[in-house]
């Protein structure tokens, strides 16, 4: 059973070749690394590779096997793809296509205004929902010409990050 790691858009295969306590020989795609790896229960990693020191922190996301990885300045979205998630991915292939027409919130916030109702025809670029967070309002626009199929939230309600808001068909 091989495990793949998805880092933003890149998907890499990874496997451990040898291990002695904190010293690992590990293969990422076709590159082999000898590393010294220490970590704790809270996702803080210290990796030494060829004398270079890497400090990485992993923060688990609400979905299992999903993490946000923080390096010095950057952050990456990580997903571990094993046999189980591959199976789930294949099964949900159909809904994934649909979800491109679903608007979801990139951040937590409060719904200020929904100027559309179920059944309304919208044009690409029409504002369908306004969300406010930290004194700033953001308008979300329809990605397609279509019809409002479902509205998952109400004006005045608070939303989580990545929550589905509106589905357009």
């Amino acid at each position: 059973m091989s495990v793949q790691i998805k880092l933003d858009k890149r998907i890499a295969s990874v496997s451990i070749l040898k291990q002695f306590e904190n010293l690992l020989e590990i293969k990422v795609d076709d590159k082999i690394y000898q590393i010294d790896l220490m970590h704790n229960d809270e996702g803080i990693f210290s990796i030494l590779e060829n004398g270079r020191s890497y400090n990485i922190e992993l923060v688990p996301q609400s979905k299992p096997k999903h993490y946000t990885a923080y390096t010095l300045y950057d952050n990456y979205e990580i997903e571990v793809i094993d046999a189980e998630s591959r199976y789930l991915r294949n099964r949900s292939g159909v809904t994934q296509l649909l979800s491109e027409n679903t608007i979801s919130s990139p951040m937590p916030g409060k719904v200020i205004k929904i100027p559309v109702a179920v059944g309304d025809e919208v044009k690409k670029g029409d504002t369908v929902i306004t969300i406010s967070a930290m004194k700033m309002e953001s308008e979300y626009k329809s990605p397609i010409d279509g019809k409002i199929v479902k509205i998952f939230v109400a004006e005045g309600s608070t939303v989580e990050a990545n929550q589905k808001l509106i589905e357009i068909e």
């Binding site: 451990i16 220490m38 922190e57 992993l58 990456y76």
Partner: protein, 504 residues
Amino acid sequence: MQKIKKILIANRGEIAIRIMRTCREMGISTVAVFSDADRTSMHVRYANEAYHIGASSSSESYLNSAKIIEVAKMSNADAIHPGYGFLSENADFARKCAENGIKFIGPSPEVINQMGNKIQARLTMIAAGVPVVPGTTESVKTEKDAIETILKIGLPVMVKAAAGGGGKGMRLITTEKEITSLVRSARSEAKSSFGNDSVYIEKYITSPHHIEFQVLGDQHGNVIHLFERECSVQRRHQKMIEETPSPLVTPELRQRMGECAVNATKAVNYEGAGTIEFLVDNDLNFYFLEMNTRLQVEHPITERVTGIDLVKQQILIAEGHVLQITQDKLRQTGHAIECRIYAEDSDNNFMPNPGRIYNITQPLGLGVRTDGYVYEGYEIPIYYDSMISKLIVWAENRNEAIARMKRALYEYKITGVKTSIKFLERIMDTDDFRSGNYDTNFIEKNKVELLAEKKCSTETEDMIIIASYIEYLDQMNISQISKEMYTAQNRWKKYTYQKNFERL
């Protein structure tokens, strides 16, 4: 003279804690107030007493003056410190405090009003001999008058609502053919926002420097200034980085601007800490912009170079003490820079990014101060400002201060939310900032360099992939994540060793 024994802090976040720190040093008891969303906020945990004042939205809590005064009376607080934002420049609130026998730490309601009305503030400054941006001294009531005045002043001009603020009813006019339409839209926006369509017109200064002077005035007519702060690094009209001394200001200009700031403060019999904001053009002409009748966010850099605790001075002045500091004893020692750490996504148009703090490591070491309020496991609420911390460094000179700021930003680690840390470090690397040659157009001008896609090397990516894989293997093997405190033995070192046993 009335000794203050207990202060209610009508604010939240880092500034509430900043004020309480000084109270603690002065042996003054502190009262915090909090909204639904702030029950777990640090200011509630830090204070001696804390009381709930309403629902999460500011209008139902931190702006609810009646409720705050009720809590102040109930808890027997002698004074209220408003911090910045919320009720800090609300003359009505200051008046209600006085009516209820509570000392409002700040100027009188009359002064707050006088400086809050832009036209009145301009008139006061002209009378005190302080230069103002060329423009009208009265509000312009009709469209015809407005157009005539604009042609007289000369383009470009800024049209602003007389009753306004917050960018509402404000228009920049650069060409003759847009005068009529922009004057109309400014007036209608002023009418709908403030119920008053009068506007005033100012000459627009292209890419000015935003430089402000800190002032202190006591109840006995003594006024001093504590030098300038350069605040030109702004995004969306919000300050990001401040420093003092300003790289632009010469000793001679500092003296002239300082005198104007003192005169302006004396002109209104100002009591407490305040800030006179100036616009400065590249030929070193300076113009009064406005007076902030409160403590500023960026006050710590002034504290670093002068060694004076501004909150302590505010409290002493409120007690009726005579200022013990005289102008000739004041010195700017070394150089201080402040960076504001916002919970926001710099790569995505500075979109706010509230959420839960997973890990936080604040920088320490020589010359570093952080004024913040978030802690591990704390959920930043969606209702308030996105600023989570201020990082202030001090060094002997400007170059050393920039190097120290870079070092401190490198140490600053916040995970769980996106922050402006990376963006701030890139600013430290730009030629314009390093040479001190920048104005309010800085971020726009350096946009390409500041927002460049500079992702990590493939090797770093591979290390992240390895870390994720190890984390995944562990998750498969551990039934429960522990957060227990470890005893003397260092679990970090033995970790992999133990994990291997579990796997057997």
